[in-house]
């Protein structure tokens, strides 16, 4: 199986082939000699590779996870070929504008833009309060406000859609 794995923003291609109960693992064309052992069913993994030992903690699901090695955190996204194709199509569609999502759960304290407004990059769109801190959510790029998905005083969950921007024309 071929996977496209993005680690801290950098993409790697990994092939995993199971043969006689042993896994062949190739990362970016290089075969790794790797001993992968699950310690428990909670994400603790013991890995031996190339003269080093790694105690990994893996948290997440099959698409997105974080791996911690000795306190250092690696953010990982995983796609197989089918998912990669689907995501590429999505990305093409959204090109130029973009959907602004809530990076954390919170309450929309104030909306600073309305539909139809023209905004410039880094312009505040709304204020989101979380953990008693108020955070200005800013425009990722120049554009036009196409949809405002939230209202003032509305509680939103992490990842919720806030504002859809279209490319400025």
């Amino acid at each position: 199986m071929k996977y496209y794995i993005t680690v801290n923003g950098k993409e790697h291609q990994v092939d995993v082939v199971e043969r006689l109960g042993v896994l062949d693992v190739t990362v970016d064309g290089k075969t790794l000699e790797l001993d992968y052992e699950e310690v428990d069913n909670l994400g603790q993994v013991a890995v031996l590779c190339d003269g080093k030992s790694y105690g990994l903690s893996i948290e997440g699901d099959e698409h997105k996870l974080s791996a911690t090695i000795a306190g250092h955190l690696y953010a990982v996204e995983i796609e197989d070929e089918r998912e990669r194709a689907a995501h590429a199509a999505e990305r093409a569609q959204a090109k130029g504008g973009g959907l602004v999502k809530a990076v954390m759960p919170g309450i929309v304290v104030k909306l600073l833009v309305k539909e139809g407004d023209t905004v410039v990059k880094d312009q505040p769109l709304l204020i989101l309060e979380a953990m008693k801190m108020q955070n200005e959510i800013t425009a990722p790029s120049d554009g036009v406000v196409k949809v405002v998905h939230v209202r003032e005083r509305e509680a939103v969950s992490g990842g919720a859609k806030l504002v859809l921007l279209a490319t400025a024309t």
């Binding site: 990994v14 995993v16 992968y36 603790q44 099959e62 250092h72 979380a130 953990m131 108020q134």
Partner: protein
């Protein structure tokens, strides 16, 4: 000594107080909101009383409920921890009026230091040096703009009634003032119901240094030297240490004397902390925190003193029983706050269920936490999950120990700021002691770690592969946890540790 006391708090500080109570033979009674029914502080207390509610104002901030809990369980005193009602003079008064002992300073002392403006006035009167700025708060952005011209940029905006980094902003030019005032004042209004802001000059290369003091009820006061808390994100402390590299014995004595004078000026009793801004050799009074600080453990490690024990002794009326000359520091201590937050995404809060825990161990490593597997981390309360504290005979060995301990720690299920702390501790400027309160902002935390990317990529692929395989095969395959990529046995000269027979059997599964 008290026979039974109420601990009017939750999380690690509730457990911290409970632990000292247990060691002193005092029966600690816990209180809990609905969401905290299963929390460790309820399970390790002698008794635990439901306050109902989920939000702080329905539970830990509800004075009536807390006092009723203390009285119905026969408690003699209330320890407030930090946060919640700990700096509420009205609550302290009510506790006393109900015939209970308040384990903290007298209400008048809390009021005297209660908001930054009152304390600034009191301190100016007592000849304590303060940061240049306004004595009176401003109510809107226009007034702030006008005042800023007199004080001079950069300006620090602070909520008049604030604390904990909420309602604070640095304003570097007048163009930023309106936006900064709006968000800071909004935070202050929502957190403290008071949107007025205090303005002062933002000093160059500022370092946050504070002095721990203890006053008994018999006129004795001592200080336990300084803590440095300059490593902050969003004006909240991340790493604290004791002592500080910039404090000489002479300056320690000077700051200690100022701190004791500050406390005496308001008739202080019990434990307190006087915060200073240090800039290029000069120190300025910032505020006094009239309670136990989050970072008190670094002082405990360096001075060998249990500050909660001292609080209980003082509140019970005992004399300190020692003087300043017997208080000597030994070695160096660090604390890292383990918050549920994403250090690679501007420290935004992270929520989830604690799915896995690996506590660091070994010599001179202390974990103050109330974490347990299955715990829900929500937005209801402060995101601080744990404090990791280490001691070493000198600063570099303490840094090395903290790095080792952070590498052992694993809190699965939420993101924590621990990787950011690790980056700080790895930085040579930090190791040399060259930093100020802006240090964390100068680190590029988004820069990926190096070297282990390929291992992570391979492990992630295998992880996904096994998940998919298990789903396909059902639970029967779920016990299969070991996978070996080919040729591993070539590493060593003796036979592979997995006999051929076992390997063949695996292939059949």
């Amino acid at each position: 000594m008290f026979r039974r006391i109420l601990v009017a708090n939750r999380g690690e500080i509730a457990l911290r107080v409970i632990r000292t109570c247990r060691e002193m033979g005092i029966e600690p009674v816990a209180v809990f909101s609905d969401v905290d029914r299963k929390a460790l502080h309820t399970r390790m207390a002698y008794n635990a009383v439901s306050l109902g509610g989920a939000l702080p104002r329905e539970s830990y901030l509800d004075m009536d409920k807390v006092i009723a809990a203390a009285k119905s369980t026969g408690c003699e005193a209330i320890h407030p921890g930090y946060g919640f009602l700990s700096e509420n003079a009205e609550f302290a008064e009510r506790v006393t009026k109900e015939g209970l002992v308040w384990i903290g300073p007298p209400p008048a002392a809390i009021r005297g230091m209660g908001d930054k403006i009152t304390s600034r006035r009191n301190m100016t009167r007592a000849n304590v040096p303060v940061v240049p700025g306004l004595t009176d708060p401003v109510a809107d952005a226009d007034a702030a703009l006008a005042a800023a011209e007199k004080i001079g940029y950069p300006i620090m905006l602070k909520a008049a009634a604030g604390g904990g980094g909420k309602g604070m902003r640095v304003v570097r030019s007048k163009n930023d003032m309106a936006s900064a005032f709006r968000t800071a004042s909004g935070e202050a209004l929502s957190s403290f119901r008071d949107g007025s802001m205090y303005m002062e000059r933002y000093l160059d290369e500022p370092r946050h240094i504070e002095i721990q003091v203890l006053f008994d009820k018999h006129g004795h006061g001592v200080h336990f030297g300084e803590r440095e808390c300059s490593i902050q994100r969003r004006h909240q402390k991340l790493i604290e240490e004791a002592p500080s590299v910039v404090i000489t014995p002479e300056l320690r004595k000077k700051m200690g004397d100022i701190a004791l004078a500050a406390g005496r000026a308001v008739g202080y009793e019990n434990a307190g902390t006087v915060e200073f801004l240090y800039s290029k050799g000069d120190v300025y009074f910032l505020e006094m925190n009239t309670r136990l600080q989050v970072e008190h453990p670094v002082t405990e490690m360096v001075y060998g003193v249990d500050l909660v024990r001292e609080q209980l002794r003082i509140a019970y009326g005992e004399e300190l029983g020692y003087d300043q000359s017997s208080i000597q520091p030994r070695g160096w201590a660090f604390e890292v706050r383990i918050n549920a937050e994403d250090p690679f995404n501007n420290f935004v809060p992270s929520i989830g269920t604690i799915s896995n825990l690996r506590a660091p161990g070994g010599a001179w490593v202390r974990l103050d936490a109330a974490l347990y597997r299955g715990m829900e981390v929500s937005l209801n309360y402060d995101p601080m999950l744990a404090k990791l504290i280490v001691w070493g005979p000198d600063r570099m060995s303490a840094i090395a120990r903290m790095r080792r301990a952070l590498q052992e720690l694993n809190v699965g299920g939420v993101r924590t700021g621990a990787p950011a702390a690790l980056r700080v501790l790895e930085d040579e400027r930090f190791q040399r002691g060259e930093f100020d309160t802006g240090f964390l902002g100068t680190l590029d935390l988004s820069k990926p770690s190096e070297g282990e990317d390929l291992i992570v990529a391979a492990a992630a692929a295998i992880h996904r592969h096994l998940l998919a395989r298990r789903r396909a095969l059902g639970t029967s395959a779920s016990s299969r946890g070991a996978w070996q990529a080919r040729s591993r046995e070539r590493h060593t000269n003796y036979p592979p540790h997995r006999p051929e027979a076992a390997r063949a059997k695996e292939a059949q599964r």
